[in-house]
Every structure is written in C-alpha cells, then in structure tokens.
C-alpha cells in the first residue's frame, strides 16, 4: 500500500515569485519523514506540490519531477484528482465540512467519489475513526455536526477523513500546531501507528516532535528574505539532531536562529 516518492529538481512558483528551488529528495515508504525549517522557507509549498494541491492556487505552478514509484505525477496524461486520491493531506487548521455530521465528514471522500454501499461505509467510517483514535469519543454522536467537536477532536476527524479514502501517502502540514499537549500526544501516537501502512510526511516547527515521530528529517532554509527556499540537508533523524552535516542545520536545531 505505501509507496516511495522521488522528487527531482523541483521549483514552485506563485505567479512570478519563486517560492522553492531545486529540491530533490527521496521519501521512503512505511516511514515518517519530517520537514523542518524557519517560517516562510517553503515547507508547506513543497508539501503541496507532492499531491498537486499547489496548482489549485490561482497563478501557482510547478517545474520539475515528482515520481510515486514508477509514475510521474506531473506527467501530461495524469489526472490531478486521482493523484490527490492517492496522496491524502491533513491541513494545519482543522477544516471539517461545516454542513456535515461527524459520520458524513468521514464518509465524504468516499461518498463524493462514487457509490459505496451503506454497510460498507459504516465499516470504513468506524475503522477510520478508530484509526484516528477518535472512535471512543464520538461513537455515540456520529450524527452530530463535525464542527461541534473540540479543536483536537476536529483535527483527528480530519485525519480520519483523510485515511478513509485509503491513500498510499499521507501529508500533514503542522497537524498539531493548534492543539494542546494531550491531543498532540494522541496524534503523535497515531502517526507512529499509521506509518505501518502509509508513507507519512509531516511538517513541524516542534523539534522534539520531529525527533520523536520521524525516521528521516529534511531541513529547509532560505538564503535571504525574498529568495526561494532550498533543501539544506536530509538524513536519518538521529543524525540530523546529533551530528548534522551542515552548520545551518545545527544552528537552527540548537535554536541559534529561526
């Protein structure tokens, strides 16, 4: 189910502004890869190029290659909709559909994509909510609105929604930045559990979190304000945090800037 992602020479633009430049990396399957770096260095932008969400912003475009195993995601015959179905995403701010109940939120991806029988759907919704560590909290109120949950619960609902469509890769953009320590812990546990089945990429500003949950870490930086962001280095998380190859990485991790 989980697949490897390979990126080569990737640039991303917002209109004429180049936000990231020349990024190449390999993201291993069944592992957690963390992106760290100072604000504005293009972590979110890069993450969004991995499932072709970047181009939904008017004027935004991408150059370079992203391959999922043997498929070129930016190939001319590739349907971006199917890419997003294969590579799911969880956003920084929880964004459940306000018009839908908890159940419908989780079922949304399947329902909106075609016909699934009700009994099948019940099973998938339960599995996904259990997978997101939310089942016990909401099993008695599945028909209530998803927007009525707490922030942490909403974020786990969004994770359940993302895994309900059975993606092969899960991208998470600062999924814990708006959450309390307990919800954060719940989501970190969840990430460790999910990596058995998925390829997971997580953007985080929390060094401890990166150290705790990830197997590999990529450090991004930008030379100066207004310059495009670049990948500085990527390695085993333990190596990045104990013995990084680059001075900039060490400075960032030890809190000397950023």
């Amino acid at each position: 189910m989980a697949k490897q992602i390979e990126v080569a020479g990737l640039d991303a633009y917002y209109g004429s502004h180049k936000a990231i430049e020349g990024i190449s990396m390999t993201i291993e399957p069944r592992s957690v890869t963390a992106f760290i770096g100072p604000s504005g260095c293009g972590k979110s932008t890069f993450l969004r190029t991995l499932n072709r969400m970047h181009e939904v912003i008017p004027g935004a475009r991408v150059e370079g290659k992203v391959r999922l195993e043997d498929q070129d995601l930016y190939g001319p015959e590739i349907d971006p909709v199917s890419v997003r179905r294969t590579i799911g995403m969880v956003f920084q701010r929880p964004n459940p559909f306000p018009t839908m109940s908890i159940y419908d939120n989780v079922a949304a991806g399947l329902r909106l994509n075609g016909r699934v029988s009700r009994s099948q759907l019940d099973g998938i919704v339960e599995d996904s909510l259990k997978g997101a560590n939310l089942w016990n909290e909401v099993k008695d109120r599945l028909a209530r609105p998803g927007a009525g949950l707490s922030g942490g619960q909403q974020q786990r609902l969004c994770i359940a929604r993302a895994i309900a469509v059975r993606p092969q890769v899960l991208l998470m953009d600062e999924p814990c930045s708006a959450l309390d320590p307990i919800s954060t812990l719940a989501i970190e546990d969840l990430i460790s559990k999910l990596k058995q089945d998925y390829t997971i990429v997580i953007v985080t500003h929390n060094m401890q979190q990166a150290a705790r949950v990830s197997d590999r870490t990529a450090f991004f930086n930008l030379a100066a304000q207004g310059q495009p962001g670049k990948l500085v280095e990527m390695d085993e998380t333990s190596k990045i945090f104990t013995n990084p190859a680059e001075k900039a990485t060490e400075d960032y991790i030890t809190g000397r800037f950023g």
Binding site: N51, M53, V56, P58, V81, S82, V83, R84, R85, T86, G88, M89, F91, R93, N95, P96, F97, P98, T99, M100, S101, A108, G109, R111, L112, N113, A143, R144, P145, G148, C158, R161, A162, V165
Partner: protein, 294 residues
C-alpha cells in the same frame, strides 16, 4: 496633557460618550422601525375587513365597482404562478452565473463583462423590463399577453439580485473547505455541488427570498405583459392573467369604499404570501442543516 499609564477606571467622558452613542443607535433603530410597523399595522387594520372566505375563493367576475363582495382568487393564483415561473427561470440562471463568476471566472475578461452586465441589469427600472418583454415577446414574436410573459419580465428583475446575493455567499465559503475537498480527491464540480453550495445555502436562500419579495410586489411590468382580467385564468401560458399588485392597483383607483377595502386586503394577502414563502424556505434550509441535530 499628561499621558496616564496603568490600569484605570473608565473615565466619565468615555462613559458619557458610550451612553450618547448607545442612545443614538436606539433612536436610529426606532426611526427605522416606525415606518415598518406603521405600514404593517395600517395594512392589517384596513385589510382585516375583507379578510374572509369569499375573498380567497372568488374572482371579480361580474362584480362592479360599487358592488360589495368579490375576491382576489384570480390574482392570488396569478401572482403565485408568475412568481414561481419567474423563479424557475431566474434562480437557475442566476445561480449558475454566480458559480461561474466565483469558481471559474477568476477575474478573466468574460467574467468582468458578465459582472458589468449584471450591474447594468440591477439598475434596470422595472417598467423597462416590462416594456422589453412587451416589445420583444408580444409585439415582435406575436405572443399573447400571459402570465408567462409577466414571469419573463419579473425574471429579468430577479436575476441580478440572485447573482449578486449568491456571489457574495460563495465568496464567503473559506478556501480551506474547497481545499479539504480537493485533497480528498474530489473533482472541482463535485466540490462545488456537494461542499460549496451546501455551505452557502442559507445565505443563497435569503438572497433568493429577497428577490422573490422584490418582484412579487412589482406592478408596472405586469401591467404591460399579463394585462388585466377580472376572471380566473389558471393557465399562465395563455391569455391575460391577474396579479395581486395589479389587483391592488386596480381596486385603489376605483372611487368606492368597497373597492378600497378590497385593495387593502389584497395588499395584506401579498405581504402574507411573501412571509409564508420566506418561512417555508427557511424551514427547508433548517431541515437540511446539521444544526437540527445539535
């Protein structure tokens, strides 16, 4: 003046200003409500006299200006049919236009042109829309006066209101919701149908109801397109019909008290119909919303 620092009690002048502004706001509210309440009260008081069974079951056929009795059945039927037909024309076109402008136009040339013409249409006086239908539909194409011709004129008035209201509501739907849906691998059109439109629905319904309320009271375009009749005509596609605004107008210009009483009741009925439609629309949106289960 010395600059004071630290936490202090609210100063007396700020308290006074607060009171003054509060009083002004209440006053403005009262001033705005006075005409509304007085109109309602007047219409209810004067309209209650003829608010009887006969009024809702009879037409004005064979009832002279001096005769008591008679009713507005034919006008009620006419108004309901004309407004329904006008909505059937204007709401889909208006909705689709707004969806195009917000979701697909992206500030391009075509969307700016459409936007400009919607603005122009907003400014069209109602009598002009009636004249247009009269000239084009009835005189050039040779169609007869009919409820449908009236509905055409009304739909011209409704369309820009629906477009603008829907546009505004669609723009209020946050980007994140659309992105959440795209990220699940949902195509754009399904995202619009299943996520964007339902989220904006209550606002769109309000906009449509405002448009309905606006055209339900239009007299001039009807005068030129549905003509006038005292008899019941259930078929909106053939022959002259009546409408409540026309009925009110027709009865007020008669010099007798019985006629004027009928006009008041006609006006009251019109208000009630608009209110009832509003209520039904709101019930439907409420029924569909998850808030019901909260």
């Amino acid at each position: 003046m010395t600059v004071q620092t630290g936490i202090q009690p609210i100063s007396a002048t700020r308290r006074a200003k607060d009171r003054l502004v509060q009083a002004l706001v209440y006053l403005a509210f009262a001033l705005a409500v006075i005409p509304l309440v007085s109109v309602l009260w007047l219409v209810v008081k004067n309209g209650a006299g003829r608010f009887d069974m006969e009024f809702f079951t009879h037409s004005m056929r064979n009832i002279g200006a001096r005769d008591a009795g008679g009713g507005a059945y034919h006008a009620i039927i006419g108004t309901l049919e004309q407004v329904l037909l006008a909505s059937l024309i204007a709401v889909p076109i208006g909705l689709l236009t707004a969806v195009y402008l917000v979701e697909y136009g992206e500030g391009g040339r075509l969307s700016r042109i459409i936007s400009f013409f919607v603005d122009v249409m907003t400014g069209v006086p109602s009598v002009v829309s009636g004249l247009f239908v009269l000239a084009f539909w009835i005189l050039v194409l040779g169609m007869s006066f009919s409820g449908f011709a009236g509905a055409l004129a009304l739909s011209i008035l409704m369309m820009p209101v629906v477009v603008r209201a829907t546009e505004e509501m669609l723009r209020l739907v946050p980007r994140e919701l659309r992105e959440a849906s795209y990220a699940l691998g949902v195509p754009k059109w399904r995202t619009i149908v299943k996520v964007v439109l339902p989220t904006a629905l209550p606002g769109i319904v309000t906009g449509v109801m405002l448009a309905v309320a606006r055209v339900a009271g239009e007299t001039a375009p009807l005068l030129l397109t549905v003509f006038v009749t005292d008899s019941i005509n259930n078929d909106p596609f053939n022959g002259p019909q009546m409408g409540l605004p026309l009925y009110v107008f027709n009865q007020t210009i008669l010099p007798t008290d019985v006629a004027v009483d009928r006009a008041w009741t006609g006006a009251l009925t019109l208000i009630l119909i608009v209110m009832l439609l509003n209520l039904v629309a709101r019930l439907i949106t409420w029924w569909r919303s998850p808030a019901r289960r909260r």
